[in-house]
């Protein structure tokens, strides 16, 4: 206890030193000049209270750590595998999937417009998280510039529409393809890099794309962004009040119902859901295919891979390319939903959030990523009333998460394979 006392005291004093100028002193405009004013007694009391809290926390840190680790985990990750056979597990999983998909399909017709809109955003992040999961979770390549591919996808649709008048449905595969191309291009210089070095290069790539979009004003509109990006249509039916394109009919006129803006929101939600389901299906297959196994093997031991005749160049490039293509799809959908995009939407913090989703969910685990995407998008939304303390709570949650469950919400579970036992 004694040897903890001094560091704890120092921590408390540091808190005072940091908090007092930041919170205890206010700049007040007095006519044309600024005057420094001391804060009221209440704030000062809070500062002292905070310093005391830090002091006590440092003093009893170990005991608190014990309490945190004694919280029971929500579910044991292993153990039940031996009891339930793979066939049973598959069956359960299928049932679970059907129920969740059915609920997700029905839900928007009863929920409020704002909630459906939020859910659409969640689905975009699910798609991004699943895509990044290929690169980070499976192939073990730390990518801090994933948002670049998202941006490429978004701008592909926006620009192709603006200059060539392509529709969303034409642009969607093109956006995926373009993002994949960029993934491929990024993949080449970083083939030899791993870990921290790879992270730095990808971080740089993310910034390059953003700065390029910001400064190539005559093509991308620069910081002004691109507006008036049309929403996707449903087989030529548009969801606006009036059809914007020649030959198209508004949805409500076609069915002879009153116009309501919520049709559009629900349609976008369902479209996002469809894209997410497709993503889940494709990535699930991929992980069980030779290429998916090779990604994981490369994460585990690159040298062993080489000795077994696996071409790491091809494997790494395929991870980057395929991972990027999903960001491209998400980006195209994002720009369609938003109707307006600017480089502002593709800052580093987006990359960080997507990476946090992957890590929080549990590397390589699909269900984990989905849950984490929901948590990372909905929680800040719920905590909106805390205003500026939102990010603080967010950070606290991440720290607690890392203490309590460093392997993520639902770590990846290995698939049990039946062998023909003769």
């Amino acid at each position: 206890m004694k040897e903890k006392f001094v560091p704890a005291l120092i921590a408390g004093i540091v808190t005072l030193i940091l908090a007092f100028p930041l919170l205890g002193l206010n700049l007040v405009a007095d006519g044309l000049s600024l005057v420094i004013e001391g804060a009221d007694a209440k704030t000062l009391r809070y500062i002292v209270f905070a310093a005391l809290a830090v002091f006590l926390f440092q003093l009893f840190k170990e005991k608190l750590g014990g309490i945190v680790s004694s919280i029971p985990l929500p579910r044991k990750a292993y153990g039940q595998a031996s009891v339930v056979s793979q066939a049973q597990r598959d069956k359960r999983e299928r049932l679970f999937t059907i129920i969740v998909v059915a609920l997700a399909l029905i839900w928007p017709f009863f929920a409020s417009r704002g909630n459906v809109d939020l859910a659409t955003l969640v689905l975009i992040y699910v798609m991004l998280g699943l895509g990044l999961n290929i690169v980070v979770g499976l192939a073990g390549l730390l990518d801090l510039g994933y948002v670049a591919f998202y941006a490429v996808g978004a701008y592909s649709y926006a620009l192709l529409h603006q200059y060539f008048g392509f529709s969303f449905w034409v642009c969607l595969p093109l956006a995926g393809l373009l993002a994949a191309t960029f993934g491929f291009i990024l993949g080449f210089p970083v083939l030899r890099l791993r870990g921290d070095y790879l992270a730095i290069v990808t971080l740089g790539f993310g910034e390059i794309i953003r700065i390029l979009l910001n400064n190539w004003t005559h093509l991308t509109g620069g910081p002004n962004g691109i507006g008036n990006i049309p929403k996707p249509s449903l087989f030529g039916l548009e969801f606006g009040r009036r059809a914007k394109e020649e030959g198209n009919v508004p949805f409500h006129e076609f069915f002879g119902i009153d116009y309501s803006s919520s049709y559009k929101v629900v349609f976008l939600y369902l479209l996002a859901l469809l894209l997410v389901l497709l993503t889940i299906f494709v990535i699930r297959r991929l992980t069980r295919m030779p290429v998916g196994r090779a990604w994981e093997a490369l994460r585990e031991d690159e040298i062993a891979c080489r000795s077994l005749g696996l071409n790491r160049t091809v494997i790494k490039l395929s991870a980057f390319t395929l991972g990027a293509s999903f960001a491209g799809f998400a980006g195209a959908f994002f720009s369609a939903r938003q109707g307006f995009i600017s480089p502002e939407s593709f800052t580093f913090i987006e990359s960080a959030i997507i990476l946090a989703i992957v890590v929080l969910g549990g590397m390589g685990s699909q269900l984990g990523v989905i849950l984490a995407a929901i948590a990372m998008t909905v929680l800040p939304e719920l905590a909106r009333e805390f205003q500026e303390y939102r990010m603080l709570m967010f950070g606290l949650m991440m720290v607690l998460m890392m203490v309590w469950r460093p392997q993520g919400l639902l770590p990846m579970k290995r698939r049990h394979m039946e062998l023909a036992n003769d």
Binding site: M289, L308, R414, A420
Partner: protein, 255 residues
Amino acid sequence: MTNSMLKVRDLSMRFGGLLAVDGVSLDVNEREIISVIGPNGAGKTTVFNCISGFYTPTGGKINFKGQDVHALADFKISRLGMVRTFQHVRLFSQMTVIENLLVAQHRHVNTNLFSGLFKTPSYRRKEQEAMDRAAYWLKKVNLLEFANREAGNLAYGQQRRLEIARCMVTEPGLLMLDEPAAGLNPKETKELDELIVSLKEDYNVSVLLIEHDMNLVMGISDRIVVINQGRPLATGTPEEIRSNPDVIKAYLGEV
């Protein structure tokens, strides 16, 4: 010699000022077990790394099945049918045992993206073949019951056996084992001995072996190559090596 599988001539490897391997030559014929022995730091593993393509040798020629391979990328050499293990176990430890064996068959299965996404019949057949081959080798090395265990959770001796099985599913012509008996107990070493002999007898595989366990080496080798300080010291049958005064001197020091 017509049935020569691997021919190494005058191999040398220089790291800056250090000549780690100098003028090593060796031959491996079909269905032959050749051991490379030598004191610690003699350059045995460097020879292995040169042959398997992890290093590009600075001098000399390596010919495998009639093809010069000393400038070839490591994975390409491996695809020609020359696979190796490592001094330290290098399994994909977070993947299951069976997945380890499936990864090794990467070039045998259908890696086409679309046939995998749509599970075409040819893809399913190839996958099933890979599973069967994996199951066969698991049985052979007595690991069938651990098929769905994570490789990292196996006991050390089991991990060693799995490594050999993982090489064998690639259907190699030449298997290179770098100290396979290190850390094994006498019973496990004896099993390994039997396994290696069976690979040669039953599966027509040549084995190039680095090993310190002299009982194992003397018992199973057709020929032995002794390397000391990067230079070849002696080559011959176990009997010749056992009675070679130079070898005794190198191992025991000047008497």
